[in-house]
């Protein structure tokens, strides 16, 4: 009886010793990488380019001193003049996020958000579903003092030995009333692959 109990105890002890205490489930060939690492997998537009452009443009604009008193800015989509597919909305989203975090600007509803904004105002004011004192009044939206618009273009050259891609990102801040460009900056990126 004692021997049987001892064997059982040893088996239980061994089994609990082998228990996996790691917080990782599966994924021998999968790992999380550093999202801030320099990405050089191919020379197409990549995460590092997006991060560099957003960072460079935001800081240049914030530090320029143009955005005094947290003006309202309307952001337009960046025009993609390159030959490759680039989700340019992600560039503007990053720029908006970083400017917002820097505390230098406020943003008016842009083209994509405007329909949702109008729909919500209509719903609150016309449906009769909401308590009157909680309804957002129409005619109080803040108009933008500036609009921010940009473009990205590329020059691609290929030879038997090299592929060279040159990106140029331009961004400008325009005073809506006067139409004057008050601030402008560019970021150039060259990526070369040797075959």
């Amino acid at each position: 009886m004692f021997a049987r109990f001892s064997i059982l105890a040893v088996v239980v002890a061994l089994a609990s010793g082998c228990a996996n205490n790691s917080p990782v489930l599966g994924g021998k060939n999968i790992g999380y990488g550093d999202s801030k690492a320099v990405e050089l997998v191919t020379n197409e537009f990549g995460s590092t380019d997006l991060q560099m452009i957003a960072e460079s443009m935001t800081r240049s604009l914030a530090q320029s001193g143009i955005l005094q008193g947290r003006p309202v800015v309307q952001v337009y989509d960046v025009k993609n003049k390159t030959s490759e597919y680039i989700d340019t909305r992600e560039i503007t989203t990053s720029i908006k996020t970083q400017l917002m975090k820097s505390g230098t600007a406020r943003f008016a509803s842009d083209n994509t958000q405007m329909q949702s904004q109008v729909d919500q105002l209509k719903l609150q004011n016309q449906s009769g579903l909401y308590k009157k004192n909680t309804v957002a009044k129409t005619g109080n939206m803040i108009a933008a003092k500036y609009r921010l618009e940009g473009s990205i273009s590329s020059i691609v050259k290929r030879s038997s030995d090299y592929k060279d891609v040159f990106y140029k990102f331009s961004l400008q801040l325009i005073d809506v009333e006067s139409g004057l460009a008050e601030w402008m900056d560019e970021k150039e990126i060259r990526k070369t692959t040797e075959r």
Binding site: T48, Q98, K101
Partner: protein, 123 residues
Amino acid sequence: MRIKLLAALTVALLAGCATPPPPAPGSAASKVVVMGKLKNIEVGPMRVARENGFLTVKVSLNNTSSSNKAMFYRFAWLGNDGFPVADEEGWKTLTLYGSQSSILPAIAPVTQATDFRLEVQSQ
């Protein structure tokens, strides 16, 4: 005479084993963190200013070799308490031509930044 020689040798050996003193707080060297190695690139004097409320930094770099060198870098922006006041920056790459001296400019992302740390690494 022999004792004096032995003593001199011991002092020389001990001095050789001594680790270099840590950089003085607030000095340019104290703001540089070499992640792994930084071969043939010297980080020189830094200019720190506040422009329109944002901390701006210019760091001089010097390639001490005659061949081109690529380095990776990023800044960490710190507040009065010595802790970061902004999200982690992405790593960036910079190529220095052989024997080139260059200036690396940077602007803090938020006005709360009062200090910085430069993380560097070479290939």
